[in-house]
């Protein structure tokens, strides 16, 4: 069974992201409709000062789950995964809030990536249409040699 991690606020959760494959980030770029040659052609990437093709800047932080993910029956009714949520938001209507990304070195095919994820803030606000909850995560992605790749602050907004 895929495991589900329940997040305790403030607790650091280590995640194994895995080996980065060119095909995966190229599919990502194709889905976005971003055909920048530095994602596809080694020669173009080298000319641009990279070691070879690189992943699009927000590829790592956009993938919702790097493992197999939960079985369908373990998803919430709206199709989302509880693994990405604090317990207080289970069963609520979810929206992507904001994202802040700070980049380290580029992500190359073959990089072995890990992430440290931590809930850094959780608060509620009363809006015209009811109460909104905000969960703010900080996720640091780094290569197995310790190089920082990207740090992301992500806000998830939830409504009843």
């Amino acid at each position: 069974m895929p495991t589900q991690t329940v997040i305790v606020p403030g607790e650091v959760e280590d995640r194994y992201i895995g080996v980065i494959h060119a095909r995966d980030f190229q599919r990502y770029a194709v889905a976005v409709g971003d055909l920048n040659p530095i994602y596809f052609e080694d020669a173009a990437a080298r000319q641009a000062g990279y070691r070879g093709i690189v992943a699009p800047p927000n590829f790592l932080t956009s993938v919702r789950n790097w493992g197999p993910g939960p079985f369908e029956g373990d998803l919430q009714r709206d199709g989302t995964e509880v693994e990405n949520l604090p317990r207080e938001l289970y069963g609520m209507r979810l929206m992507g809030g904001g994202h802040d990304l700070r980049f380290g070195r580029p992500v190359y095919p073959g990089d072995v990536v890990r992430a440290r994820r931590r809930l850094i803030d959780f608060y509620t606000k009363t809006a015209r249409f009811g109460e909104l909850s905000f969960a703010v995560y900080e996720i640091v992605y780094f290569a197995d040699n310790g190089d920082e790749l990207v740090t992301c602050r992500e806000t998830i907004i939830a409504a009843q």
Binding site: Y28, V32, Q47, S62, L101
Partner: protein, 149 residues
């Protein structure tokens, strides 16, 4: 593959100047494929009836796809030798297939750093009615003219 623009030099970028816009018109296929490659099974992105039950007119463009469009605009502007140092966005409005989304940016600050210049940009994505879908800021690094000659 598309051709990218040449990288602008730090000295040639003026505070107050607009950067080239990027227009994106997401389709339901694009939204589906973006969900697939990001392993995002949220039903509001692929099931029209479900999206309507949540009060939306159609399936929704993912928060991260809005961000990806803004990143594409930045990367197109800074060209092969520019680098994004940081960027962020907040999702303000929903978008659905067929919407015409214009990503735009304005230079709001410049700062010299070692062997490169840092440029701060306010970025935004608006739909065909002028409603803001996403808003944010970015810092990009550009080469300094005399160092590259």
């Amino acid at each position: 593959m598309t051709m990218t623009r040449p990288t602008p030099f730090f000295e040639d970028v003026a505070v107050g100047a607009d950067i080239p816009v990027l227009v994106k018109t997401p389709t339901s296929v694009q939204i589906f494929r973006y969900s697939a490659v990001t392993w995002n099974s949220h039903r509001v992105h692929f099931e029209t009836e479900y999206a309507r039950a949540e009060g939306h007119p159609d399936v929704l463009v993912q928060a991260h796809l809005h961000g990806a469009f803004l990143a594409q605009m930045l990367m197109d502007w800074i060209g092969p030798h520019g680098r994004i140092v940081s960027y962020g966005w907040a999702n303000r409005g929903r978008a659905v297939p067929g919407d015409r989304l214009t990503c735009q940016g304005t230079v709001v600050g410049k700062k010299s750093a070692a062997e490169r210049g840092l440029v701060e940009v306010e970025i935004k994505e608006v739909n065909q009615t002028g409603t803001t879908c996403a808003v944010g800021t970015a810092v990009v690094a550009l080469p300094v003219r005399d160092r590259r000659q």
